[in-house]
């Protein structure tokens, strides 16, 4: 047990900080739902960051930290699945990846090369050809898409499906963890600036305590995620995804509440994090699905 970063991990996180610096702020003239980041994606490709998990000195734990760090940015780029799930696929399956569950629109599907197609307990893989997918307008802060005709799906074995599901859970938790961090920071900034009744809102205890609870929940998500990425245990992955979806449901509500009407605008960046979180709340069976999986894994033979 040792929570200090190795020198390789520190170096990588510093490099990511530098890479992320130009992308920290939403462009002031952007008033859309999902902020695409092709330049960010290109820089990550050029720096070979999508392969972090495959480097023995770094591994999946560092990849999870990277996913989390990059989710602080207001830009939506397919990072989590590429960094944490893609290493589990054969070389013939190319990134970007999209997750399509039970026929619903999927994040990044319109630009993905490979789709993970989830149908109940089954998972299959499909190559995404241009012309087979169409973008879908949505309130979510991810570019969404759907298949315009039924894709040809290669079914995964039950063992592979379980393994993919585990890494999908870790990717989900890592992304939610980073998004919550950024959304909380953005709300703290608002509460520190906005004054009502002659005081900064952040001085009112009713809000301070709720924010503190949100911070504790989000910190818990982070620890569970990092542990799951490090151990690669099914139970740890399910607990991390459960705590992420469960905590996020509450946190997102509280954060929007604290911004008042400002939180409803496309001008304020909060939705760029919270409406990515909301898109993730339903994935992989939602919190009820994670809870059942976690109970099955963790209480077997209790």
């Amino acid at each position: 047990m040792d929570f200090t970063l190795s020198s390789d991990q520190s170096a990588l996180m510093s490099a990511l900080d530098r890479l992320a610096a130009p992308f920290e702020q939403k462009p002031t003239d952007f008033h859309g739902f999902a902020l695409a980041g092709p330049r960010l994606e290109q820089e990550l490709e050029n720096g070979e960051y999508f392969g972090i998990a495959r480097i023995p000195e770094l591994g999946a734990l560092t990849a999870a930290m990277a996913v989390e760090r990059l989710a602080w940015l207001p830009y939506s780029v397919e990072i989590a699945l590429s960094m944490l799930v893609h290493p589990q696929l054969g070389d013939e399956w190319q990134r970007p990846l999209a997750l399509v569950e039970n026929g619903r629109p999927g994040r990044f599907l319109a630009t993905a090369r490979t789709a993970l197609v989830v149908d109940g307990d089954h998972i299959g893989l499909a190559r995404v050809a241009a012309g087979e997918v169409v973008p879908v307008d949505s309130i979510f802060a991810y570019p969404m898409g759907r298949f315009s005709r039924t894709p040809q799906v290669t079914a995964c074995s039950a063992t592979d499906a379980a393994k993919l599901r585990k890494w999908l859970r870790i990717a989900l938790a890592a992304e939610i963890s980073g998004l919550l961090h950024a959304a909380i920071a953005s709300t703290v900034e608002h509460l520190s600036l906005r004054k009502q009744f002659g005081r900064q809102l952040g001085t009112f205890q009713a809000l301070r305590h709720r924010m503190a609870e949100c911070a504790v929940l989000a910190g818990g998500v982070r620890w569970l995620t990092l542990k799951a990425a490090a151990t690669a245990e099914d139970g740890d992955a399910a607990l991390a995804a459960l705590h992420a979806q469960d905590s996020a449901t509450r946190i997102v509500y509280d954060l929007h509440q604290m911004l008042g009407a400002m939180g409803m605008t496309l001008e304020h960046p909060l939705h760029l994090w919270t409406y990515r979180v909301k898109a993730l709340l339903s994935e992989l069976g939602g919190r009820s699905g994670q809870a059942q999986a976690a109970a099955r894994y963790c209480f077997a033979g209790a």
Binding site: D2, V188, S192, R208, A212, L226, L242
Partner: protein
């Protein structure tokens, strides 16, 4: 970053578990729910002496005081295993975690020679006299006075909620020697000093846990002062920071949860709702565990403990609540005689947000120091 235990840590945990299997009596669980009771106190002296003999009472203390200079992880693994079975050390966990180390840091040679060896031998019980009827969260408003009287101090006042006071040998007492926050001092007061009266407060949290302690013209020699007059805040802060992650409550919460789930499974009564609820509670326990590990890791590396300790505390409070509520909702029979360990857990869980600093005070700290929100006006 590494989430695995190394071989020595695993071996140490196994040693502690084996010791517990061999030394906890068959009826241990029925003793566990009276943390300051006569039976528990007597038991803890026998048990802690055995722990001491096996080198498992104070391994993290310096060898000069009977330890073996083991690291922060060793101390925490030990605490986890003890707490997970219902804390057979009783009130002596306080000696091990913070009273002993505080005396090592601030005590005179004489105080150390008098008080540390009996702690290292598992032979003595202490109580902590901080809270007063008018001074709970706002500890700085305390009124108990210690006035210099020649070569002695004369103490007058009242403490409340004092755990283990009924069987304690010595009190780690906070009293006022001058007005204001800087006018507070710590005294090491033998509980058999004339003028001390202890009255147990009947409670829902187990026999002998909380007491009122009255000090009527209690005379103690000047040598009972720990550190200097007015140094109490510094000493108490130091002591409380050791205590903040000292109790791995999540360990008993997680064990209780497993036990409750297992009972429901055996009875064929673990429905989907209960199953999901149990997983939520377990996630909260594991989050609290990792938060606490983070603090232990900071200590291990000699880093100061920051506001993350408050976050760890609060995460633990949330976990205790979910685990405790699970048992109340799904295994109510445990609180009605069928499972003394689950009852003991319940009694500990309900005080998690109150004892050793209320949860809302932690939230204030988190808001100001972790989130850096502007402070409340005073």
């Amino acid at each position: 970053m590494d989430f695995q235990w190394d071989a020595a840590q695993q071996e140490f945990r196994t040693t502690v578990r084996t010791f517990l299997e061999q030394h906890l009596p068959a009826d241990w669980e029925s003793l566990a729910h009276g943390p300051g009771s006569e039976t528990q106190s007597t038991f803890s002296k026998r048990f802690c002496a055995q722990l001491a003999q096996a080198g498992l009472l104070v391994p993290h203390w310096p060898s000069r005081w009977g330890g073996r200079d083991a690291d922060a992880w060793t101390a925490f693994i030990l605490a986890e295993e003890m707490w997970a079975v219902g804390e057979p050390r009783g009130g002596q966990y306080m000696n091990v975690n913070w009273i002993g180390p505080t005396l090592m840091r601030f005590g005179t040679d004489e105080q150390q020679a008098t008080y540390i060896p009996p702690m290292a031998g598992g032979q003595t019980i202490w109580c902590q006299g901080f809270s007063e009827p008018e001074a709970g969260s706002d500890l700085a408003s305390l009124r108990t006075r210690a006035e210099r009287d020649g070569a002695a101090y004369r103490i007058n006042g009242q403490k409340i909620w004092t755990s283990y006071a009924g069987h304690a040998d010595t009190c780690f007492l906070l009293a006022r020697t001058a007005p204001g926050k800087t006018g507070m001092s710590i005294f090491l007061v033998p509980m058999d000093t004339p003028g001390i009266t202890v009255r147990q407060i009947p409670s829902i949290i187990g026999e002998g846990d909380i007491h009122e302690v009255f000090f009527d013209d209690v005379r103690v020699p000047a040598g009972a002062l720990l550190g200097a007059e007015g140094q109490a805040w510094e000493i108490a802060r130091n002591a409380l920071s050791l205590e903040r992650v000292g109790i791995p409550r999540f360990a008993l919460a997680a064990c209780s949860l497993r036990r409750a789930v297992s009972a429901l499974q055996r009875a064929g009564r673990l429905g989907q709702g209960a199953m999901e609820q149990s997983a939520r509670a377990l996630a909260a326990c594991e989050a609290a565990r990792l938060y606490s590990y983070h603090i232990v890791d900071q200590r291990q590396h000699g880093a100061p403990t920051g506001p993350e300790a408050s976050a760890a505390r609060y995460a633990t409070v949330m976990a205790e609540r979910l685990a405790g509520d699970f048992v109340v909702e799904h295994c109510p029979d445990a609180l009605a005689g069928s499972d003394p360990l689950l009852l003991a857990h319940h009694q500990r869980a309900i005080v998690a947000g109150i004892a050793s600093g209320a949860a809302e005070i932690q939230l204030n700290l988190i808001a100001s120091e972790l989130l850096r929100l502007p402070r409340e006006p005073r």
